[in-house]
Amino acid sequence: MPGPEPLKAMVFNIERCSGEDGPGIRTVAFLKGCGLRCQWCANPESQNGKPEILHKGTACADCGRCREHCPKSLIRRTPDGWIAGDGRECSLCRSCVDACYYGARVLLGEEYTVEELWRETAKDIAYYRQSGGGVTFSGGEPLLQADFVAEFGRRCRESGITLWIETCGQVPGSELAKAAAVADGIYYDFKHVDPERHRELTGVDNLLIVDNLRWLNANYQGMLSVRYPYVPGKNDSAEAVEGFVAFAAELKNAREICFLPYHRLGLDKYRGLGRKYALAGTEPLNKGDLAHLLRHQKRLAIPIRI
């Protein structure tokens, strides 16, 4: 008799040797699917929970082989490259991916069982152990697949490596709790303090996100880091920042508040997915541009990092 279906996660990228997503040397597994649609999202390919095909304009040699090999003739040449579209459904048959010799077409989104993902990430286990590193789940919103994350987290525990999670908090509290039980650390993104403005910027209000963050502050035993992507014209007004700081003042159990300068490195991916990027005209910031935010430090019990 066949056993129960093993848990599977939809992974769109595995990045080894990351230095930005938790302590030590880490591998980051990016899970596909997200409940938010942030206007500035740098990983547009992460939003949809299903696989999709990305076109990399910089690699494309304009040879047209992808069009020749598409059995449904979906691929059209646009100013942004050879994009599948025209309203008809792509069946993700990979013909165009295989036909492209330049590596310009990539199928994003592959299912992994816990065992498969473990095998892939365990290639660097010696580095994790040496450096106090481990695996970080990012996305997308990894906690939309919280059972998988929790199961994987138990695997990390058994092997003595750390698990970190990057979440936007737009998940049921029960899902968050499953992951919190196994995560050594959580990066929690917070976009805007005003529910209505939050809806304009991300597609949903922030009620669940606020509740979840309060719950973590009250109950989570691991390292909680709250991140605020600082986006010009979106959430950088004095009112928005003041509001966030006031809320953050409640978060006595978090380890830090981290402001992230806006960047637009995802622009090419919007083009490659045949999508419009709403913030194309917004100039990126660097860390220096955020230095003034440190003045809010006196109102907080925990440190601000830029």
């Binding site: 230095g19 030590g24 290639k123 010696a126 580095y127």
Partner: protein, 803 residues
């Protein structure tokens, strides 16, 4: 860096490399005068004459004195090794020395005339001439075709050795001379070889006397300069130096300063006896630190003074120079002398050997940012993280890949496997680029023809013929285009590799034979155990340890090529083998085929698996080749010294291509890894340019799979780090953790280039602004602006890794 050091460093950079005729003239006259003397005596007398008559230069402000030629950074000429190219280059073929694309040398009219006067005598007497006349045609063909190449070994003296500095600083040359005389007294000239032994020992004594006379000439010059010095500080320093040079290296050193001066005089003398490069320093911190501690304890030396002396020594190491033929220079670009200096590692009882002198060397390396000496950090489990971080910080400042990191346990495992005695294992030190040697006990850490590993694959794919020349070397057993698996091609490739490796070995035996006849160097031999006991030169088998083996280039690229064949032809069946071979022969330029040449190249480059991504689809093929070559060198061959005393007398695998990966790449047509006609092959065991796509740990894991047990002669792993990736101490700690994890897999070595591409691009356009910009090309650091443009581009193309 204090004001003195800044001034000395600036003077060094202001000096242009030149050619000096003195050694050439004095040596030639002496050799003519003693034409019928036995070779050991004849060369020792010539050595004596050179050291007795050459110009002595001492400059105010120097704390370490002595010179190799009339001017700092001037290269003497060693006509006994090869001369054809000197005449040709003076005639502008292919370039006048001052017009070369890289490693330029200036020559004045008088010097040129003096050299031209000497050269006719040597026309039919050079080492390279003797060797070439003794080689069979198939070896000369392989040499001409750029498949194997012995120029670096026989076009100049044999090098890659580490004299016993420990002995010199603690016992003095006096003890060596006494031992030689005692040995001589015990020889009965009627016994077999008794006369020859006496000749050798006479050479040793003459050689030691030559060096002692040299040091006393330097002392006289110091005293003269002192008498004339206006500044009382300089007067005092020069008088002290006169006293020091009257004493060392003949007597044991009493102070730190005497010890360092003694070491420098030995280094100079060995460089003047012969011009083999890579005369290295061994465990500098270990034999020097007792002097440091003693002087500090009795209050005669402060840390800053010791640093100043070491920095003066480092600067003086950069005054040494060597003129190589232009084609040979292309393999060793960057005015390199390959003087390697080891710090750290472990003591004989397994303790941490890092001491204050280790730290001083790391500090000097960072402050001075010089080409040489190559400071090498030996790591083992007991090496403190603090010291590793100090070394990494120095590496970030130096920008040129120094200090490099070496894995003590991995080298010890290799050397134990080769039969090195337990008590000697921890004393191993990298020589030259990275070759493992036991200081004072090993002859030549590297010696033997180059092997162009990917060229042999190209020949295999053309059924044993070189497509460039049409020369058929050894026919393959079958038409390779009809192979039904990559493994069949691999088997043919192994057969071809064996053929050319055999030729390498035969070349080396012939090379040793001619050196035994014409190139005996008693002085340097006397500083390696047990040359005096056996009365044999290094090349005759005088050392305790010996193994041959020249550098190879392109094994990783060749493995990538097999992986690409497997992927495109046999696994995915996108191409047929004839299609692929056609594309390679046409350098991926045929637009009439489908897919077209450029499309095939894109497929091979972008879709086929590549070494450096922790992907067995590529790594396994590399491993097959590595195991085959490594095991064959180790087990299938014996060097000419076998049975004469040294152990183990096998051959060893070396993947230290310096800039040879560019030079050798030029003779290879397009290959299935997607490499274009004439493009460089990979460097050392570093992944090929642009093929690391999975991050630094993946590249490390690929490297960690390689059979380092065979790599006595080193395998270079270069990694570029972006400056932003090492900005914080936390990030640098992560790099150290990565190195330790890599070393846990018995990888031998890693070196980092920490620099941003923009800097190099600007340096290509404005070399004048970057006279001191360093780059670690491979196993050594060079001045970036001294490299030829295509070598510069190769450096640029290396992918920046984010750690």
């Amino acid at each position: 860096m204090n004001e003195r050091i800044e001034r000395l460093r600036k003077r060094l950079f202001d000096q242009s490399p030149r050619i000096c005729s003195e050694r050439c003239q004095i040596f030639t006259e002496s050799i003519k005068k003693n034409a019928q003397k036995p070779i050991a005596v004849r060369r020792a007398l010539a050595f004596h004459d050179v050291l007795d008559r050459m110009t002595i230069r001492v400059e105010e402000g120097e704390l370490i004195v002595g010179n190799q030629a009339k001017w700092p950074k001037a290269a003497p000429i060693y006509p006994e090794y090869s001369t054809d190219w000197i005449l040709a280059e003076l005639d502008g073929k292919p370039f006048r020395p001052e017009d070369r694309p890289g490693d330029k040398f200036f020559i004045d009219a008088e010097t040129e005339r003096d050299i031209r006067d000497c050269l006719p005598y040597w026309e039919d007497k050079t080492l390279i001439g003797h060797l070439r006349a003794s080689l069979p045609q198939e070896i000369l063909d392989a040499w001409a075709g750029g498949i194997i190449d012995e120029t670096w070994v026989v076009g100049a003296g044999l090098g890659n050795e580490i004299p016993d500095y420990d002995l010199v600083v603690n016992k003095g040359l006096r003890s060596v001379r006494e031992r030689a005389l005692a040995r001589r007294a015990g020889i009965d000239p009627k016994e077999p070889d008794g006369v020859k032994k006496i000749f050798f020992l006479d050479g040793v004594v003459t050689g030691i006397d030559a060096v002692v006379n040299f040091s006393r000439r330097i002392a006289v010059e110091c005293a003269k300069k002192a008498a004339r010095a206006k500044d009382p500080g300089f007067r005092r320093e020069l008088s002290e130096l006169a006293d020091i040079c009257r004493r060392v290296p003949f007597e044991p050193a009493r102070t730190f300063h005497e010890a360092v001066q003694s070491i420098y005089l030995i280094l100079l003398a060995v460089h003047l006896e012969s011009n083999g490069h890579a005369i290295s320093l061994g465990r500098f911190d270990q034999y020097l630190n007792p002097f440091y501690e003693r002087d500090v304890a009795n209050g005669t030396l402060a840390r800053d003074q010791a640093l100043e002396i070491i920095e003066c020594f480092f600067i003086k190491c950069n005054e040494l120079n060597k003129l190589r033929s232009w084609p040979d220079s292309e393999f060793f670009l960057g005015y390199q002398m390959f003087i390697n200096l080891a710090v750290g590692g472990q003591t004989r009882d397994g303790g941490n050997a890092v001491n204050e002198t280790s730290r001083l060397c790391v500090q000097a390396c960072a402050e001075l940012k010089l080409v040489t000496p190559s400071v090498s950090v030996k790591w083992f489990e007991g090496t403190p993280d603090d010291f590793m971080l100090e070394a990494l910080d120095a590496c970030i400042v130096h920008q040129g890949g120094m200090p490099a990191f070496y894995n003590d346990p991995a080298f010890i495992r290799t050397l134990r496997d080769m039969g090195v005695a337990e008590e000697d294992l921890v004393d191993w030190a990298p020589d030259g680029c990275i070759e493992a040697s036991i200081p004072g006990k090993w002859d030549f850490a590297a010696k033997g023809p180059w092997l162009n590993v990917e060229k042999v694959l190209e020949i295999t794919l053309n059924n044993g013929a070189d497509p460039r020349t049409g020369i058929l070397y050894k026919p393959t057993a079958r038409d390779v285009a009809t192979a039904s698996s990559t493994r069949e091609i691999l088997e043919e490739y192994k057969g071809q590799l064996a053929y050319f490796m055999d030729l390498q070995v035969v070349t080396e035996h012939a090379n040793d034979y001619v050196h035994c006849l014409y190139d005996i160097n008693p002085f340097r031999s006397a500083l390696v155990e047990d040359c005096i006991g056996r009365c044999l030169d290094l090349v005759e088998g005088g050392a305790l340890y010996s193994a041959d083996g020249g550098p190879t280039a392109g094994t990783i690229s060749a493995g990538d090529a097999l992986a690409a064949i497997e992927y495109a032809v046999f696994e995915k069946k996108i191409l047929t083998l004839p299609q692929l071979l056609h594309a390679c022969r046409g350098n991926f330029g045929d637009l009439a085929t489908s897919p077209s040449g450029p499309e095939i190249r894109a497929l091979l480059r972008n879709k086929a698996p590549k070494f450096g991504n922790d992907d067995d689809a590529a790594d396994a093929w590399v491993l097959e080749i590595e195991n085959y070559i490594g095991s064959r060198y180790r087990h299938a061959y014996k060097s000419s010294k076998y049975g004469k005393g040294p152990v183990p007398c096998c051959f060893s695998y070396s993947q230290t291509p310096v800039s040879g990966n560019v030079a050798f790449g030029r003779s290879i047509g397009a290959t299935p890894d997607g490499r274009g006609d004439g493009d460089p092959v990979n460097n050392g065991i570093s992944p090929a340019n642009g093929s690391e796509r999975t991050g630094a740990t993946a590249a490390c894991n690929s490297v960690g799979k390689l059979p380092s047990i065979y790599f006595q002669k080193g395998a270079i792993f270069n990694m570029r780090l972006t400056r932003s990736a090492v900005a914080t101490r936390g990030q640098r700690k992560r790099v150290v953790d990565m190195v330790k994890t890599l070393f846990g897999q018995y990888a031998q070595h890693i070196q980092f280039n920490v620099v941003d591409n923009a800097v190099y691009r600007d340096a290509m356009e404005h070399p004048e602004k970057y006279a001191d910009l360093m780059v670690r090309v491979s196993g050594y650091s060079a001045l970036f602006t001294a490299l030829a443009p295509d070598c510069q581009v190769d450096v640029l193309n290396r992918l920046e890794m984010d750690v």
